[in-house]
Amino acid sequence: MARFLAGYRRALDGIGRVEWAIAVVTMAIIVACIFGQVVSRYLFGLPLVWVEELSTYAFIWGSFVGASAGLKRGLHLRIESFVARLTASARRGLRVVLDALMITFCVMLVVNGVTAMRVFEWHQRTIALPVELPRYLFYSTPLILAAASMVLTLLYDVLEVVVPERATPA
């Protein structure tokens, strides 16, 4: 089990690095697109219509994937109440319960994201991009991937609490 957890940890770290890279790339696209648009309009008198759409899609990708990366780093805002005053075992129990609820929510996002993709977005296309692409690539796809990654992150957190630590050297 300890070996399984270590492997799981490495896999999560790998996913985290990919998410970090996506956060950097989408940010770069947003800056380049909008700055490029201003330059193109003022220097060459050429407004670029598709740039707005591309940067908005980068924003949606960056938002969902970045939110997943934020979950791995424990950056999602929460309000501190009385939990610090509970006993250690009660805290562990609460952590598992909250994780389970959040996993339920993320699984719901994945399932309904697939529905949204297949039923509603299948025939929608991008509007102004030079290449016409299916809309779901920028709507439900990032949400599904991010929610799935969040499930993996939260499952690891549950395992960390539940699996007794035996790795301590004798």
């Binding site: 956060a23 648009q37 938002s63 939110a67 950056l75 929460r78």
Partner: protein
């Protein structure tokens, strides 16, 4: 009946310290399941289509601008200039702290960027100069909230997108209130020092040569707010475009000053990317929540209640201020904004309150909430930098609540303070 499930489950989950975004999402999902008529897929659709909004792009840009400009060198130069400018006043570095934040506010869009970037320098210098660390932390936290009042401002972008009003008008409206907030903080610092409540070493007055030298050193950084504000005044570009210009300018400046390397730039972009994403995730999940609140006539019902008590818009604004201040003590700014705007905005609009004026009232009110216990994000950041306990920083921040609330009152009851500038530029 089922509607109470929406609010109750949300409140229980955040009380158990679940992250706000997930609590909002689970509350909406459990409501839909209990109601049983609307398919859950609507939740996903509201989340994705809600983000498909071009003005939102100002969020990553202004978060990134804050990160780029708080890299060592630029913040340092602004600090040195502020020190030469006001360091000799009674209160010394405490005034420098406020003035530095007011200047930095012209390029940064979040209080967090201000508190964590410039704040580190400000608190270190004040401690070295013999100030009480708790006082240094309190001044930094309260001056940091000027950041999102003086444009650019991330929270104003969110408000503007939600209410479909002009980001530029809202930005311009923040100018006078932000300066007012800074001056009133300085007045309280002066009073605390003169009355002997706070020990503050004075600095010698900087020579004109020193002032000119620090001004020239800070000048390239000072150009950024001039770009931004000038650009909005003339109306050559949208706030989003100006955000991109400021980011690119900041990056170039960072390389010229040799404060940035390609490696650190990538790191900054990743951190800024995750910072805004965590914020936007709350907003995304709040779209279905707000939609559920709206289709259940909650805003209309609440408006009916309030209007049955009074139709005086000044009294209504007073009630809203009290509700928001209480909420601000317990909740995170973005979460309050996305939940309460759909409720309050239609009401005040019907009463004839100018949307830009109301935006500033809400923004200032919610920012005060970042400096109030038990939940005050600005206090959490600065208490860590100053390394003092929460109780001590709360005690030190109390006197500053007076000027902050006074500014809020002035802005609430003298709309011209807000509206003068945007009406003058874009009548």
């Amino acid at each position: 009946m089922i509607l109470s499930l929406l609010f109750l489950s949300f409140l229980v989950l955040i009380a158990l310290e679940m992250p706000i975004a997930f609590a909002l999402g689970l509350a909406s999902a459990s409501y839909l399941v209990a109601e049983g008529r609307t398919p859950l897929v609507i939740l996903v659709q509201r989340m994705t289509s809600g983000l498909d909004s071009f003005p939102f792009l100002a969020l990553p840009l202004f978060v990134l601008a804050g990160h780029v400009f708080s890299t060592g060198g630029i913040a340092r130069r602004i600090y040195d200039f502020a020190r030469a400018l006001v360091g000799h006043l009674r209160g010394g570095l405490a005034h420098v702290n406020v003035v530095g934040s007011m200047i930095f506010a012209g390029m940064s869009g979040t209080a967090q960027a201000d508190a964590a970037g410039l704040g580190v320098i400000e608190i270190e210098e004040m401690k070295r100069d013999g100030f009480d660390p708790a006082f240094a932390g309190a001044v930094t936290a309260t001056s940091a909230i000027i950041g999102p009042i003086i444009p650019p401002s991330v929270i104003m972008v969110i408000f503007a997108v939600m209410t479909e009003i002009s980001v530029a008008r809202l930005f311009l409206g923040g100018f006078v209130p932000g300066i007012l907030m800074g001056l009133s903080l300085m007045a309280v610092i002066y009073w605390l020092v003169v009355s002997g409540r706070v020990h503050a070493p004075s600095l010698p007055r900087a020579s004109y040569a020193e002032l000119a030298r620090t001004f020239l050193a800070a000048f390239p950084a000072l150009v950024a707010p001039i770009f931004l504000i000038g650009g909005m005044l003339i109306g050559v570009a949208t706030p989003t475009e100006l955000g991109a210009i400021v980011v690119v300018y900041g990056i170039v400046l960072g390389f010229v000053y040799r404060e940035l390397t390609w490696r650190s730039l990538l790191d900054i972009m990743g951190r800024a990317g995750i910072t805004y994403a965590v914020l936007v995730f709350i907003i995304a999940v709040a779209f279905p929540f707000g939609w559920l609140v709206a289709i259940n006539q909650v805003p209309a019902t609440l408006a009916g209640w309030i209007l049955s008590i009074t139709t005086n818009k000044w009294l209504v604004l007073a009630c809203i201020n009290v509700v928001l201040l209480i909420a601000g003590c317990f909740m995170e700014t973005t979460a309050i904004l996305v939940i309460t705007v759909p409720v309050f905005f239609p009401l005040v609009k019907a009463l004839g309150v100018d949307p830009v004026h109301f935006g500033l009232v809400m923004v200032i009110n919610l920012l005060i909430g970042t400096c109030t216990p038990p939940f005050g994000i600005a206090l959490f950041i600065t208490m860590q930098i100053a390394q003092v306990s929460f109780a001590r920083i709360v005690a030190a921040v109390l006197p500053f609540l007076v000027p902050m609330l006074a500014t809020l009152l002035l802005v609430t009851y003298f709309p011209q303070l807000v509206l003068f500038l945007p009406n003058w530029i874009q009548p």
